[in-house]
Symmetry: C2
Subunit: 147 residues, 2 copies
DNA sequence: ATAACCGTTTAGACTTAATCTAATTTACGT
DNA sequence: ACGTAAATTAGATTAAGTCTAAACGGTTAT
């Protein structure tokens, strides 16, 4: 696990290469941003962030990159109410809590939630990942809703 | 659990009233359709289906109704790739398998997948539901992908 | 050097799921 | 029946995400 800037650079570049992707400034910027910001950003937020210092990535490229990273298993896509996809770097497995009122997303450590499956689930289907989303009201919205 | 048409009618009306919703033809049609078709339809598919015999529900009403039914806990919303929400009547708890290639959605019986949580997950958050989505490739797409 | 090559990026048009609005209609308790 | 709050409507609007065809870049061969 990288500890300083140089190590992060090497880690990001290594991950891209390992996924069979050329290391371009745009891809580097997106993956580096996701490494540093575990805030479940939208594609739009990522685009704005990586272009803040100086424009380098178009919208199409941000989407292309995110799809490639997802395909490569480096990034998780989070689908929720409103049809806006959020992105999350896959460093260690975890689940998510999503508030149905304000949209807050919080990580849930796997230790708190044990999932036991009897595989195979359906004949012939290949299970690749298991997304668990806990939905409800966050503390803040709970207070508002309960009055 | 309703067994014939009359019982279904009474069940649907009862569910609507219990949720504090007036029984309108549009709402009746939507909930009845979801009762009879456990195919995880989109709002568009539902709109087309309930208007097939004779037009009765506008798009806005279909969405309003689905939101109301979801709010009331009668219907589950399924969010996936593509940003198209799918709807599923909540009759008995189950999970879902979704093929990342063709989008196939299949129910997974809870017996096959047990989720155990250590509550409370986060201080103050109210847990309302737990969505488990198994993602991967269905048998068909698996064959195509593996060549 | 130069050329050819293939994957990547780009701007901007396009698609479409879902929302919004303001006027009209309807369900249902009294 | 009546009154009213709730529900419905058509159509305009929004915005997330995709598509397209041209340009770019870096690699390898000549």
């Amino acid at each position: 696990m990288p500890r300083n800037d140089k190590q992060v650079r090497l880690w990001v570049e290594g991950q891209l290469r390992a996924a069979g992707l050329k290391v371009t400034p745009q891809r580097y910027a997106v993956l580096d941003y996701l490494w540093s910001n575990r805030t479940h950003p939208t594609a739009e937020e990522i685009e704005a962030a990586v272009n803040q210092r100086f424009p380098c990535a178009s919208r199409a490229t941000v989407y292309n990159t995110l799809h490639a990273l997802h395909e490569a298993g480096l990034v998780q896509e989070l689908y929720g109410q409103g049809g806006v996809t959020r992105y999350d770097i896959k460093v260690e497995p975890h689940h998510h809590f999503i508030c149905r009122r304000c949209g807050l997303i919080e990580d849930v450590k796997v230790e708190r939630l044990s999932v036991k499956a009897r595989l195979p689930l359906q004949s012939g289907h290949r299970v690749e990942e298991l997304d668990v989303v806990i939905r409800g009201l966050c503390a803040k919205c709970r207070k508002i809703a309960e009055g």
